[in-house]
């Protein structure tokens, strides 16, 4: 079951990179970036999964050796990663708006004043 998650996350990352590389529209590049980011988030979450474990929330008294939890650390990492993904998308969209304003187009083949 968990293998399916790994395959899906690998597929998402590769799809994200494919989208960045081949699509000549700046907005699509931003979409590609966020897809790759979601792929990695899925990978982080699925690593922390222990089959049969419950959510790592307990009151002080109930902790006994039989209680079996899912690994809490990747969940914290995923939260940070989602926040970072959101910031990346926000900043890149701000840049894309400014690019459209000053270059008049979103086609990355035209946005190449700095080359050579």
């Amino acid at each position: 079951m968990i293998l399916f998650n790994y395959i899906a996350s690998f597929f998402l990352i590769v799809l994200g990179f494919y989208c960045i590389v081949t699509k000549y529209n700046a907005v699509k590049t931003v979409i590609g970036l966020s897809i790759a980011d979601y792929g990695v988030n899925l990978l982080i979450i699925s690593i922390g999964f222990n089959p049969g474990g419950t959510a790592p929330i307990y009151t002080w008294g109930e902790l006994n050796p039989s209680s079996f939890f899912v690994d809490p650390i990747p969940q914290a990492l995923t939260l940070t990663s989602i926040v970072i993904g959101a910031c990346t998308t926000a900043m890149s969209l701000a840049l894309v708006i400014k690019l459209k304003e000053s270059y008049g187009t979103l086609d990355t083949r035209e946005i190449r004043r700095l080359n050579g």
Partner: protein, 642 residues
């Protein structure tokens, strides 16, 4: 409560002061003076904390392990986030703090014409806090967070002057490929966590070398590519060229002097500590090959540039190639030479970018074909620029020569010891790159500072004192680190090189003594005695004494020979006696500079130059393609080698 002022807390203070400064600058709001005070105090405090750490870490060789929230490791598992400061991280920390301090002093007067400068200082302090956090942190995920902070701050600062030519485009490309790099780092960190169930750097470097399997090797490739996007090495160097070309000069100092060093720091930590795989000949070959290629490619690209700052950007990648080649040799002398060159590079490259900023502010353009003869209007900037140019091209008394000289010794010694002819080519490429660097800086000095002054720059004035003071600090440091080579290597680079070879102490100081031998058993890193002897001899003081005595003697001879210079007298001036000789014609301003220099060299290499020009197409997708292809190649290489 342990004593708050004991030096163990200083690593956290140096990071927190910067982030606190970033917050206070926003509160300062409208008043310029308050904002400048907050910025300068934050930067000086951070530098002071790190300087105070030199005594315990560098001289006494102690490794400071600082657990955030006082969460000591329980049952052999590190729970809290840790800061670990050993000689290597302190060396990079000092380097970064100095560059940040000088750049902050410079930007006070440099940014006086721009509006909403408080956002500038916030981003500036966030960037410096992120970099110092990256260098001092002992936790892999914490390093990823710091990498994200500095990438966002750098992207925003690159696009700060969004009216500048290509600033937005440069920021967008930097963001796209930077985020590909960050995604790789995150994926690599997570795959390591999946294997070792811990994020603490010391525990990982104890756990991983024992059991390499496919997922740790792929994690190694991901992390390596992630950090090389931050260091702008060969497949990612167009980012740096675009980012420097458009960013304000004080930010270019940070990007070229500081961000590239954080990338190199990441790679050194990765290869020498986390995976301890540098003993393998193949791994050394990878780093030295990438270093040599980026050395040569970027210096030839720099020769073909028409813009002052883009030329400097390509040079900073070529110097990073030097650092990577030296650090990839896995010899004590190599690492010491590489770190020494990294320090010198931050100093002279900072000086050159500040000089470029001064020229940009006074004349409004950095195009080599339009400028000329500024030395008559801006004498101080010219002198400071010349010190930087002589340092980067390795002219003996200056610091560039001292570190390049050590790099040649290291590469050639490695070639001799290992008998592998590849390192010999690295030495030859390094020497040829040094001459090409000299050529491109002769080109810049001829087309910007000497030659004839064009009409529109007749009334250009010298830059205000604040900017010259900042450049002066870098110039003095360039000369001092060049002259006192033994002091610098003894107190700064050799302790750092010893720290790189002493992974056991790094692990034990973090997780309690004996931990490394307990976990790693047989291949626990034993403390090898490190030797720094060199085959050559070079005493700069001696040479300088000779030169001064001779200068005295020759000036006497010159004065003796009735060295009577004729000041301009009205009659002769009218006749044209003091005009430039134009074959009798009235002297028309005709500046030889920029594109029309070094025709002989460019003509012989014209196919190479046209190919490289087309390769750097400037399209985001191409750079992303290079990044992905580099990732694939790195994975393939690592799987075969390790």
């Amino acid at each position: 409560m342990t004593n708050l002022l004991s030096y163990t807390h200083f690593p956290v203070y140096s990071i927190m002061v910067l982030f606190l400064g970033a917050f206070l600058v926003v509160i300062a709001g409208k008043s310029k003076a308050l904002r400048h005070i907050f910025a300068i105090c934050a930067v000086t405090a951070s530098l002071a904390c790190l300087i105070a750490l030199i005594k315990p870490v560098m001289i006494d060789g102690e490794v400071i392990a600082y657990w955030m929230g006082a969460r000591e490791p329980a049952g052999g598992y590190a729970i809290g986030i840790a800061l670990e400061v050993d000689a290597l991280s302190l060396f990079f920390g000092l380097l970064i703090a100095t560059a940040v301090f000088v750049s902050c002093c410079y930007s006070i007067t440099y940014m006086r014409f721009d509006e909403n400068v408080s956002q500038y200082y916030t981003l500036f302090l966030m960037l410096s806090g992120g970099v110092i956090g990256l260098v001092l942190s002992g936790d892999l995920f914490n390093m990823f967070i710091m990498v994200e902070i500095l990438t966002f701050a750098a992207v925003a600062l690159t696009a700060f002057r969004n009216k500048a030519h290509g600033a937005l485009e440069a920021a967008f490309k930097y963001l796209v490929v930077g985020c590909i790099g960050s995604t790789c780092i995150l994926a690599g960190t997570i795959m390591l966590y999946a294997q070792a169930r811990t994020l603490n750097f010391a525990q990982l470097s104890a756990f991983i070398p024992g059991n390499f399997n496919t997922s740790t090797i792929i994690a190694f490739a991901l992390l390596y590519i992630g950090f090389s996007t931050k260091a702008f090495i060969v497949p990612f160097h167009p980012l740096a060229a675009d980012a420097h070309g458009a960013a304000p000069a004080s930010i270019s100092v940070l990007i070229s002097g500081v961000l590239t060093k954080s990338g190199i720091y990441g790679i050194i930590r990765l290869t020498y500590f986390l995976f301890q795989s540098m003993a393998l000949g193949k791994m050394q070959f990878l780093l030295v090959f990438i270093g040599s290629v980026s050395m040569f490619v970027c210096v030839t690209m720099a020769l073909a540039q028409h813009d002052f700052k883009r030329l400097l950007a390509f040079h900073s990648i070529s110097q990073i190639g030097y650092v990577l080649t030296a650090c990839g040799l896995c010899t004590a002398l190599g690492i010491s030479a590489g770190l020494y060159h990294a320090m010198n590079h931050t100093l002279f490259k900072g000086l050159l970018f500040l000089a470029a900023g001064a020229v940009l502010q006074q004349t409004g353009t950095t195009d080599l074909n339009k400028l000329g003869g500024l030395s008559k209007r801006m004498p101080h900037t010219t002198v400071l620029f010349l010190i930087g140019a002589f340092s980067i091209s390795g002219i003996p008394p200056f610091n560039g020569f001292a570190s390049k000289w050590m790099v040649y010794q290291a590469t050639y010694q490695k070639a001799v010891e290992s008998g592998n002819i590849g390192f010999l080519f690295a030495t030859i490429i390094a020497l040829i790159t040094s001459v090409l660097t000299l050529a491109s800086f002769v080109k810049v000095s001829q087309s910007v500072f000497f030659g004839q002054l064009p009409e529109e720059y007749k009334d250009v004035k010298e830059v205000p004192f604040g900017m010259r003071f900042a450049m002066g600090i870098f110039a003095v440091l360039c000369i001092v680190t060049g002259l006192f080579r033994e002091l610098v290597t003894h107190y700064l680079t050799e302790p750092a090189a010893r720290a790189v070879f002493d992974v056991g102490k790094y692990i034990n100081s973090m997780l309690g003594d004996g931990y490394a031998s307990a976990v790693m058993g047989a291949n626990a890193p034993v403390r090898t005695e490190v030797v720094f002897d060199m085959a050559g001899t070079w005493q700069p003081i001696h040479w300088l004494l000779l030169l001064c005595i001779l200068l005295l003697a020759i000036t006497l001879v010159a004065l003796l020979g009735r060295y009577d210079t004729v000041s301009e007298n009205k009659a002769a001036l009218a006749e044209g006696k003091f005009d430039i000789f134009f074959g009798g014609e009235k002297s028309v301003p005709s500046q030889v500079g920029g594109g029309d220099l070094f025709w002989g060299f460019k003509h012989n290499w014209r196919h190479y130059f046209s190919f490289m020009h087309d390769l750097h197409s400037g399209i985001v997708n191409d750079y992303a393609l290079w990044a992905v292809v580099a990732l694939a190649l790195a994975m393939l290489y690592m799987l075969i080698v390790l």
